[in-house]
Symmetry: C2
Subunit: 522 residues, 2 copies
């Protein structure tokens, strides 16, 4: 990776917003601070309670910057705490295993020493997935897997590759490119997240439809657990019992450490087309995307931005909802697929933008999408409350849910921040039976109070999602932040099974304690 | 269902082959008996060891025909044993619950009484999934779920339905038809298998590509376990932890009894097209279907029949491998999709049949497909060894596997039966990373020895699949017959987790003992 990774905020240090840009952005939220909080330095770390195990000493770091960078993920909550210099939760050690045997050795040592191990890929979690909380362990190790980043084998006939799970998105794709193949999995965090992170959190890529969730790209998994190494067979399909891979997908480091996966690849797409469609009413736009999702054309992009989100991203003026459409294919031209979607959208009252306006809308949306996390950090430095949350539900209750979220989260923002703020919605993914609505909250908060302010707003969001039986997360995962809501959503019988599996695979309770399950009584 | 369900053989009594047809068919296998074994009558049942629980007495049957019909599934092994009058494994009781509360009550009673409960849908298992083996229980109840067969709710907006799991295929589709919707899941056993059976065994439908596996149709599940009732939320997609549904999918009655599911529906297809392509060499045909599976067109049918299978089914003369192609859609004409596949096939040396020959081949294949299990029973009555087995593997080793199967299973047939016999292959399902090869074995066996003969041939088949790390089952499930191979294939770490889950959900070990896992030590 070129550039320097930020230890406290999103992405690269070089891409962070300069102070004046932060202030300019914050001007859109009256009440924000006019001078940003300074970029923090990693001081105030608690002393490390643990020496690294002697036999593995060269795989460990106690450098303050490493410990600070591995304290949190990259949620708004994390940025705000890092800005405030709160590093009390820092791991005692950061391990950088270079081989799977190193991973096994770290787990063995941790089990004997009663040390918690928090698996860490790119560290882009926005749900507290990589942050140790609670106690009862002799220490905490952050297990940074990014040295395990090789494509070990490519099968061009079946179009699959065996990949080490610590590969960051670009590192993985660079190794596939010479073969004309791609995993084609591009979450917003692509540059700063790993294959293992995607698998452990059941990541969804930025494609709106079709094969977009990483689960469906998995041919086989290799997982290191305290009970041994699990390796499934490479199979295109199998009906032999419950899928072993599906138990580890979404296990968020609580059942084992993913070290390798065979993943399904695709030819690199060469044909692309995109356009944008405007709708006066949001309901018409929802009806259009539902019809598209049920009619059959598989689009790479089919993102519905509500009026506010369209204005905010620059894809529209705020007078319309905007549907950004894109198709791509390795096989041949995609004009017909796009035309089919446009035709359906027209039938629901959509107006197709002219080619130039269309390109502008598509480009603006894409640029805003990539810039958003950096803007978030800049706004946070000016005291804003700025965060997202996301869900999925069936079509029959989608509009009712969105209306309720706007109303109740909007009310919470007003109540907490003393001013209206902004609650925007877009659909990130579409299924024949429902959309994945994604919400952005923006408001002028108060430096020093932002954490509490957001937690109260998030509480309102969680309540309304739960009441509508909409998932607490479509693709951000559970981590620690979503635990109460996840516990409510998860069938208790399944929790019983998962607890039993955890106790069997991790009897000493060292793996990412508190994620998915409470620490086991010992 | 019109007609009378056969208690010992496939499907309806009325559709069974008459004696002369059995003999005519068996003439193709020199060495078969010239007089078929008589159709059996269910005598020789061991006395029932259990009285039904008084509070549920009207939900139970001890009628000999019910007990006989619930003794086995419908594999060749089952038919041969029924023909021989071997009913020693008959359940003591057959329960016909009419409500979910009945299911709960039966499990409660069974747990207290130490009685094994074998869930039973349509009874079409070909892997010993519904047959109690082994001991240690005070008795055995076959839990026939076909009285729970209602579509309880339809959501036309999201195109989904809440369905009781005991609905047989036609019973389910009849209730959906007035709404213009279909589950579009048509395994070969469609008429004689239930939604719950499909879910419990991760059934694949007869569509060769696209959404053909029942797993992907599941929005939510309701499962009765001894530890309580599990109900997941209706969600089009979720990243909240490991999927709860995926643990129960494929659990084959060992973790719970599936009582309801929300399933994703589709509009009924109105546009159809089909054709057939011939190939001189099998390798060219394999290359063609691989190219089709990786190029993108989603076909309803893309079945490659090898030379022998083409002749056997009447779709060809035996001089060519035949690729049967079909496309269907609710949205619009499918000629282009079919043409794309044909073009690819041509590029690999395929010759497109004329319209009449094409229709003949397609029709012959379809008719043979539906007739096959009845033919199997007729041949079995004449002493033939006639069975199928199926698998899936990645493309890179598909041809090597098929060659090895032909050689080694062929050798086993010769060794066991003293004559060459037939080992045919077709591809039933195609994925971008590999096919699902399906093998048919036909040989003249000896009445009285067929079971041992088949077991020896199957042993050879299992060995060669395992050596190539090809799954022991793509869509027939594990049951009891595939246990040793499944145990070898399943990662031991996953087995540990599954055993723990089983112990937590079914602590008294009453649910389908011996399926997926050994009975727990108590």
């Amino acid at each position: 990776m070129s550039g320097t990774r930020s230890w406290w905020g999103w992405g690269r240090v070089e891409d962070a917003l300069p102070d004046d840009a932060c202030v300019a952005l914050a001007a859109a939220l009256p009440g924000c601070a006019t001078a940003p909080v300074p970029v923090p330095v990693p001081t105030g770390l608690p002393p490390s309670r643990l020496p690294p195990p002697a036999a593995l000493a060269d795989r460990f770091s106690t450098a303050p910057r490493d410990r600070a960078a591995h304290t949190y993920g990259k949620a708004f909550r994390d940025v705000v705490r890092a800005l405030a210099g709160d590093l009390a939760a820092a791991p005692d050690l950061v391990a950088f295993p270079r081989t799977e045997a190193d991973v096994v050795a770290v787990l063995d040592w941790a089990g004997d020493a009663g040390v918690a191990v928090v698996p860490y890929g790119g560290g882009s979690s926005v749900v507290g997935g990589t942050e140790y909380r609670g106690g009862g362990h002799a220490g905490v190790v952050s297990l940074d897997l990014t040295r395990l980043d090789r494509v070990l084998e490519i099968d061009p006939v079946s179009r699959a590759a065996r990949v080490q799970c610590g590969a960051l998105g670009p590192v993985l794709e660079e190794q596939l490119r010479p073969h004309g193949l791609t995993l084609r999995h591009f979450p917003q965090s692509f540059e700063f997240s790993t294959l293992g992170g995607w698998l452990a959190t059941r990541s969804a890529g930025h494609y709106a439809m079709g094969r977009t969730r990483i689960d469906d790209a998995v041919e086989a998994l290799r997982v290191v657990t305290p009970a041994g190494v699990s390796e499934s067979w490479r199979l295109p399909g199998s009906g032999a019992g419950p899928s072993p891979d599906r138990l580890f997908l979404g296990s968020e480091g609580a059942l084992g450490v993913l070290t390798e996966a065979w993943v399904r690849l695709q030819d690199r797409p060469e044909h692309r087309a995109s356009t944008a469609v405007r709708f006066t009413g949001f309901s018409d736009a929802v009806a259009a995307v539902r019809a598209i999702s049920q009619a059959g054309p598989v689009l790479a992009n089919c993102r519905l931005l509500d009026h506010g989100e369209a204005r905010f991203s620059g894809a529209g003026t705020g007078e319309h909802a905007v549907l950004v459409l894109g198709a791509e294919s390795a096989a041949g031209p995609v004009g017909d697929v796009l035309a089919e979607a446009v035709e359906i959208a027209r039938g629901h009252g959509g107006t197709v933008s002219g080619p130039r306006d269309g390109d502008t809308a598509v480009g603006a949306w894409r640029s805003a999408f990539l810039r958003a996390p950096y803007a978030r950090d800049g706004l946070a430095r000016c005291g804003a409350v700025v965060e997202t949350f996301e869900t999925a539900c069936t079509w029959d209750r989608a509009e009712e849910l969105i209306t309720a979220v706007r109303r109740e989260v909007g009310a919470a923002v007003r109540e907490v921040c003393g001013a209206p703020g902004i609650v925007n919605c877009r659909f990130t993914h579409l299924y024949p039976d429902g959309p994945a609505p994604y919400f952005t909250v923006l408001a002028a908060g108060r430096i020093g109070a932002q954490l509490a302010q957001w937690d109260e707003i998030k509480h309102a969001a969680t309540e309304v999602l739960g009441r509508h039986r909409a998932t607490i997360t479509h693709h951000h995962a559970v981590g620690r932040d979503h635990r109460p809501a996840y516990d409510r959503q998860r069938p208790e019988v399944f929790a019983t099974a998962l607890r039993a599996a955890k106790a069997a695979l991790d009897p000493r309770g060292v793996l990412n304690p508190g994620v998915l399950l409470d620490r086991l009584a010992t």
